[in-house]
């Protein structure tokens, strides 16, 4: 198993490690919840230790406050490592990586779909959340459906939550199923097309301290890097691609060692 996989598994466990929830039920509401994780991980999950930055951002936007804390948090992480957290820490990204491993019919996504995540960020998580004062991205988030919606309803003993299941819950499950099918077909479909956290970090990809460089003299354009890339980025074509998640798989696979990562 590669180093990336081990980190992904460990990160997924550590971020969702509130064991008492299994026996007692309910959601962890202690001290750690005041801090954000640097990726999309629903804070409604009974096991989640940290809060979701996108949920917190929409919360502040809904309250019509300027989210200084979240902005600074995104800025710090983004300037340090760009989208690296997506590649190494994100449990939902890890889930999609595993889905793509299923040996089935595959397709490629045209590049312009990558820009749709800005529409989601500004439209759903920004404008709609501001106008309605409710976290509307959370209401359609497939990660929330997977790690919070399903376990909470299944483990519900009192029947309060089951009574709340309605059209909104059905819609969430439908979106999750669609995302799963597309993730089997297309590499990290959700990350590339919808994820607003990735959209924020992708702005910093160009400026971050950690970055990838391609030696054009050594590059033979075999496109192995694009083939092995979980986001289908041709790093030899655009080095500061908005979809590069710094998983460093291409550095490892490059047959001529043309790709290197540097900290400036």
């Amino acid at each position: 198993m590669s180093r990336k996989r081990i980190v992904q598994i460990l990160a997924s466990i550590i971020q969702n490690a509130y064991i008492p929830a299994i026996f007692v039920g309910g959601i962890y509401q202690g001290f750690l919840k005041r801090g954000c994780t640097p990726i999309l991980n629903c804070w409604g999950c009974p096991l989640a230790l940290f809060s979701c930055p996108m949920g917190a951002l929409q919360h502040f936007i809904g309250l019509q406050l300027i989210p200084f804390y979240i902005a600074g948090f995104f800025g710090t992480v983004g300037m340090l490592v760009g989208r690296m957290t997506c590649g190494w820490l994100c449990p939902f990204g890890f889930f999609q990586d595993l889905l793509y491993k299923i040996r089935s019919f595959k397709m490629r996504l045209p590049k312009f779909f990558s820009y749709f995540k800005y529409v989601v960020l500004v439209g759903v998580a920004g404008i709609v959340a501001y106008v309605t004062a409710e976290p509307w991205f959370c209401k359609v988030c497939p990660d929330g459906a997977l790690i919070a919606g399903i376990p909470l309803v299944l483990a519900d003993k009192t029947g309060d939550l089951k009574a709340l299941v309605g059209w909104h819950y059905y819609m969430k499950i439908a979106i999750l199923l669609a995302i799963i099918v597309f993730s089997i077909t297309i590499k990290r479909f959700f990350c590339r097309t919808f994820c607003p956290v990735g959209a924020i970090y992708s702005i910093f990809n160009r400026f971050s301290l950690l970055r990838l460089t391609v030696d054009e003299k050594k590059c033979i354009e075999c496109e192995s890097c694009q083939m092995v890339c979980p986001m289908n980025v041709g790093i030899h074509r655009h080095q500061h691609d908005i979809d590069c998640i710094r998983c460093l798989d291409c550095v490892k696979i490059c047959p001529t060692k043309a790709i290197t990562h540097e900290v400036r």
Binding site: K101, I102, Y170, I173, C222, E223, I253, T256
Partner: protein, 524 residues
């Protein structure tokens, strides 16, 4: 027929077809997501509401995906050699079979042996091994590959298709359509089939015996070949359209381009010279100057060298930028052909040619500038023009649209006329045999989809992919094979094939240099 049965099973049991086809975990995963989500919804069921239809759509999506997946099957990602191949050959698969010396046979592609001799081999330019040491000799390795014709015969259909032009493109299309059960008739202007292969390409590069064998193989599919019939003269285009459900135009390019310089009528046409050499009519041209830098120019030069001429090639750009095949060029230089780069002709007279020097940037693109005051004269006995050809498409006037050079405007093979399809050089401009074969096969698929009234994107989605049975090869530090040629002095005297075939052991050794990229670099 495994995928057909798998599709049937998958239609009724989600994931069943995948398990039947040997992909156990794929089947389990699809079944889990489909039946698991249904079970979950039954547990938490609170009645039908607006969003239930969205949920239903998601289930239908999984079901459809599962059927499509069972039909198409799993496929490794395409390595560079396969991606670039214009003929749609899967080089790494046959190299793998060769390296492992396995019983597996590569499915037949029209003109497979021909492409092993005269392909420009763009795959070798894109080979991953190119960056490590030298590319695998993909083109040359085709010598050792055994192919198999498709066993499954399709049901005969009533649709009649006419193919105009029995070149590589037309014959490939005819082969595909005949295999699919259509009634295909091929019309050829010349007395013998093969197009450029039959009457132009000299025998030392592509022997007639190979062509005969190729055409015999293609004919086993059962299409009718009518040679010596010219459309527009012997049969009118209207009658052809009346009698057939679809007409495929693959006539190629035959009308020589004129430079528009004084005295051009004194020069000989390159195709004409090649045709007559191929027929065995000896030429007495004396000192020959050839204008052009393509394979035609090199072929003429090499043929004339074999008949004892003194040959010079004049080309307007650098030698490295010549569009001719690299190996062909190198062999020509070995045989004593002199290449004069960076000159353009100004005036052609009898026994004399006026040339002017040029300047141009590196690479095949960019403007060629003439250098003022650098004119010079060379005494020659004859000048041959080999600067390219335009198609002769007069017989189609009023039926389809053309660009200004006479090429047919076609998208995905379809022209302005609903019954007329076009492919090969007549659409692409002068290209290679590999392009012709690939374009012919693709256009044939389009014709089939048109006759069966299937939209293009569905036809593309439903196209089955070849699933090679391969194993990863270990990386070996072996030097690239030196392709054996006959000795220069010996081969200059006759028209027998220049390239020699290496022994099987050497071919296996060369094949084992392949990195099997899809398994090593492109895993899932």
């Amino acid at each position: 027929m495994k995928s057909g049965k798998a599709t049937l099973i998958s239609t009724f049991i989600v994931g069943g077809g995948q398990i039947y086809a040997g992909r156990f975990w794929t089947g389990i995963a699809l079944a889990f997501f489909f039946y698991g989500s249904i079970a979950f919804m039954i547990i938490i069921w609170t009645g039908i509401n607006q969003a239930f239809w969205g949920l239903l759509a998601a289930w239908i999506l999984i079901w459809l995906y599962n059927i499509l997946d069972a039909f198409k099957g799993f496929r490794y990602q395409k390595p560079p050699c396969e991606k670039i191949c214009p003929a749609g050959i899967v080089p790494w698969a046959y190299i793998n079979y060769l390296a492992l010396d396995s019983e597996e046979r590569y499915p037949f592609v029209p003109f497979f042996d021909t492409l092993g001799r005269i392909c420009l081999a763009p795959c070798e330019n894109y080979c991953t091994r190119r960056g490590i040491d030298t590319p695998v000799a993909i083109r040359y390795l085709r010598a050792g590959v055994k192919t198999m014709l498709p066993e499954h015969k399709h049901k005969p259909k009533n649709d009649k298709i006419a193919v105009v032009g029995a070149g590589p493109c037309g014959l490939s299309a005819a082969y595909y359509l005949a295999h699919r059960g259509y009634k295909v008739t091929v019309y050829e202007r010349e007395e013998q089939p093969g197009g450029v292969l039959g009457i132009l390409i000299p025998e030392f590069r592509h022997p007639q015996a190979v062509l005969d064998q190729e055409i015999d193989t293609l004919k086993t599919m059962g299409f009718e070949l009518k040679c010596g019939v010219e459309i527009g003269k012997d049969i009118s285009m209207e009658k052809l359209l009346e009698d057939h459900d679809a007409v495929f135009i693959a006539t190629g390019v035959w009308k020589p381009i004129k430079l528009g310089i004084p005295g051009e009528e004194n020069a000989l046409d390159g195709f004409d010279v090649l045709k007559r050499i191929r027929k065995g009519e000896l030429y007495h041209l004396g000192r020959v100057g050839i204008i052009g830098g393509g394979n035609t120019a090199i072929d003429i030069a090499r043929s004339l060298v074999r008949e004892g001429h003194e040959v010079k090639i004049y080309y307007r750009r650098n030698v490295e930028d010549m569009p001719a095949e690299y190996e062909n060029l190198e062999e020509a230089q070995e045989e004593g052909v002199e290449i004069v780069p960076l000159v353009v002709p100004l005036k052609i007279e009898k026994n004399k040619i006026t040339l002017q020097k040029t300047e141009c940037p590196e690479g095949r693109k960019g403007r060629v500038k003439k250098v003022e005051g650098s004119e010079f004269e060379v005494e020659l006995d004859s000048v041959v023009m080999a600067i390219g050809q335009y198609p002769e498409t007069d017989f189609l006037k009023g039926l389809v649209k053309f660009d200004r050079n006479g090429h047919i405007m076609a998208k995905d093979g379809r022209t302005a006329h609903p019954k007329i399809f076009a492919g090969g050089d007549v659409v692409l401009g002068s290209a290679t045999v590999a392009h012709a074969v690939g374009h012919g096969m693709n256009t044939a698929r389009r014709i089939e989809a048109h006759l069966r009234h299937i939209p293009t994107f569905i036809a593309k989605l439903l196209r089955k992919t070849y699933q090679p049975k391969v194993k990863m090869l270990p990386i070996k530090q072996i030097e690239r094979i030196k392709i054996p040629h006959r000795a220069i002095e010996e081969r200059k005297g006759d028209f027998k094939e220049v390239e020699l075939w290496a022994s099987k052991d050497e071919l296996i050794k060369e094949a084992s240099r392949c990195l099997s990229c899809p398994l090593r670099y492109h895993p899932h």
